[in-house]
């Protein structure tokens, strides 16, 4: 069932972003940098030319899928903190396909997507099962799954995917086996842009459809909003917890695919992908709605890809961009305040409009009389 997208959620997000930027400006000023210059290079770094735009999008692709994963779990009342591990496992499965499966391109893409979905889904479904069967809190379980993925990769990659001279990462996959695509690369004049963008957009549309229009989405949301009522109504709560975690895991697995076989072409060992956690911010700012996730991922993608340029061109350290992100999250989390503010603004406007209408009616009455 559709839960209306209130224009207020949009205003809240925008307010949070603006306040985050203002906080960033104050910080820059306080360390003696010129905030206008800082922002100028931050945004330029993300949007200066088509190649940079391509890179912004490439970063956003992964963020979109992770954000979608977290948002989807949120809707069922679950906190998926394990997107990083699910990314790793999904990415590993995709990397294996890239190394060993050779097929015509369309078929190949289907196989690699399926592999990433399976890997991530498996990593998500385990915490789901633990929660359903033994009531293990998903936050605990997903964090543990993160570390299991981290250490498994730590030993698996050197043992089976060792590069010729590299000790800390897997051997690179062939460009032709990656998600990069010549025509996309050409349009954007190089950079990291890849076919993942279509995967992300399709996933967003599909998830939005599931949540708004299907009985599955109805059940998931019912369980997420009030599991006692869902249980009473005959919805199988545990089954939905498992399904939700499986889908969330699958989405994060796809994110891993776009990151390890699209953005980059190898897997580093001993690194937990920080994007797995950035996804929480993306979901929060996007108010857990698929469309919201789309835009907030683009925004965060821009900050991520612009911060290096800002650092190179000015004295401003790249951490400022992270601080801005953190501040925005903070303001989004305390969005109740904005909601009150915008509600009262809305009301004032409505009352004014009504007064005006009333006056007009009165005037008309006089005119007629």
């Amino acid at each position: 069932m559709k839960i209306k997208f209130k224009s207020n959620t949009f205003l809240i997000a925008v307010s949070a972003v603006i306040l985050g930027l203002v906080a960033g400006a104050i910080l820059m000023a306080s360390i003696g940098s010129n905030p206008f210059e800082g922002f100028y290079y931050l945004f330029r770094g993300g949007l200066m030319n088509v190649e940079r735009i391509g890179n912004t999008i490439a970063t956003a692709i992964t963020l979109m899928l992770v954000g979608l994963s977290v948002a989807f779990a949120f809707k069922t009342g679950l906190f998926n903190i394990g997107a990083a591990g699910q990314m790793l496992v999904g990415g590993l499965c995709a990397t294996l396909v890239a190394h060993y499966v050779f097929l015509p391109r369309p078929l190949y893409l289907i196989v690699i997507i399926a592999a990433a979905l399976l890997g991530g889904g498996l990593w998500g479904v385990i915490p789901g099962l633990l929660k359903a069967k033994f009531n293990v809190h998903e936050v605990v379980a997903t964090i543990m799954m993160n570390w299991i993925a981290y250490w498994s990769i730590y030993y698996f990659v050197p043992a089976y995917l060792k590069g010729p001279s590299l000790e800390t990462e897997s051997k690179s996959i062939a460009i032709s086996q990656s998600l990069r695509s010549p025509w996309l690369t050409e349009i954007f004049g190089g950079g990291y842009i890849n076919l993942g963008i279509f995967v992300a957009i399709l996933a967003i549309i599909l998830i939005k459809f599931i949540l708004d229009k299907t009985t599955l989405g109805f059940e998931l949301k019912a369980v997420g909003s009030n599991r006692f009522c869902a249980e009473y109504a005959g919805v199988k709560v545990n089954r939905n917890v498992i399904i939700s975690m499986m889908i969330a895991g699958g989405l994060a697995g796809l994110a891993g695919m776009t990151y390890y076989t699209g953005y980059s072409r190898n897997i580093q060992i001993g690194v937990m992908p920080s994007m797995g956690f950035d996804g929480i911010a993306v979901a929060l700012l996007g108010a857990s709605s698929p469309i919201g996730v789309f835009f907030s991922a683009l925004f965060f993608g821009m900050l991520q890809s612009g911060k290096g340029f800002m650092n190179a061109m000015t004295e401003v350290p790249p951490e400022i961009a992270d601080t801005i992100i953190a501040t925005i999250i903070y303001f989004t989390a305390t969005s109740v305040l904005f909601k009150k503010f915008w509600d009262s603004v809305g009301k004032r406007i409505r009352t004014k409009r009504k007064d005006r209408a009333d006056k007009a009616v009165a005037q008309e009455g006089k005119d007629n009389g």
């Binding site: 839960i3 209306k4 599955l216 019912a222 009473y232």
Partner: protein, 506 residues
Amino acid sequence: MSHVIEMLNIRKEFPGIVANDDITLQVEQGEIHAILGENGAGKSTLMSILFGLYHADKGIIKVRGKEVHISSPNDASDLGIGMVHQHFQLVQNFTVTENIILGREGSFVLDRKSAASKIKALSEQYGLKIDPNSKIEDITVGMQQRVEILKMLYRDAEILIFDEPTAVLTPQEIDELMQIMRNLIKEGKSIILITHKLNEIKAVADRCTVIRRGKMIGVVEVAGTSQAKMAAMMVGRPVSFKVDKKPAKPGKPVLELKDVNVMNIKKVLGVKNFSLQVREHEIVGIAGVDGNGQSELVEAISGLRPVASGTISINGNDITHISIRARNEAGLGHIPEDRQKRGLVMTAPLSANMVIKEYYRPPFSKYGILNEDLINKHAQDICDAFDVRSGEGIESLAGKLSGGNQQKAIVGREMALEPDLIIAVQPTRGLDVGAIEYIHKRLVEHRDKGHAVLLVSFELDEIFNLSDRIAVMNSGELIDVVETSATDEEKVGLMMAGVKSKEVTA
């Protein structure tokens, strides 16, 4: 006499609805002033404004003759205004004393001892009988309410607001609360009381302000006004308190319980060897004091709690171990005891709530895709039929409805399922007399269509008004089942205390 509280020409709008439209409330020093109004009339809203939870769009508030601006509960508290909410705000594993001084510690060092002795003194002064050292989780709901009262008194409140305080109490506790209110008045406090029960207003209130659909209808002296008159003022038409019904024509059994045993939360038997039949065209009422196994019994029938032994069947089909959905499909409807927890998804719109048991099957969905138009139409039909009032119609979030309208929505949804058996637990809790009349009528109608109704209520009036037979429960056991026409409230009262009917008649 002087007014302690004056709320003059108050207006408050919510999206799509004017909850308070030019309402004036004047409370005199030392009186119990009742507010009477239908579900959704705007009573809670008005009190929330007085207590600083909402802001009025228009109007002025005067406390002891002085105009004031109350923008938070703290402001209200400073002005000597206290409120007992319908849902208590207590920390379960804290003691009474800790709960009362919470947020009022004063200095860094908690002086529990002197606080406890002040609480003890207050408790004795007003006859509250509270032990300051017991934990909240160990005391009854009625006691918890008294802790809320103590909280107000501890903070030197002079004007006490009670929003539907008796909805959660047993008849015994209600009598005690009435006495406490009289004690409070004797000590110079003033009270605003919201209740749907006219006999309570009659029993304690001095004057009563009646509101309907957000507008003030008038103020009456309670002593000189009959209950029927007040009810008519509030609903806008005469209300009948008795249910018209023809004698039952019981047919074959719909619900059959055979030697059912159920464990309660504490893992001891909450329902013991319970056997009962509810037949077609019959209403069976379960009478008993709250906490004697009624909840466990209902949960066992509806599938929310496993059965330890025994069998439950509907229309001859064993449902003892099947899923909740399968039970619903076998013809079970259930108006749950806790509407906020079980009955509705508060953060979802009414439309979704009205199909929460049926969304998965045609016509509401096909191949897993929801049919929004039909869902909306279905929800609209229920809201029309049961007069569910809300700001934005079926798009309103369930949580934004007034308590009574939430209940009407649930009853409407369950009735729309046309179940062979409907279990109605406290179906009229928190409803205004007009709505009670309506829901009672619909339950009887349901029976007259040839269905079975199992009614659980803690109000003997309701049990006697509706039931064809009465089953009395005590400590998880069925004491006896009697024909309503062959018994009276006194006999049932004795059985509720555990005395068998043979001994009663003897």
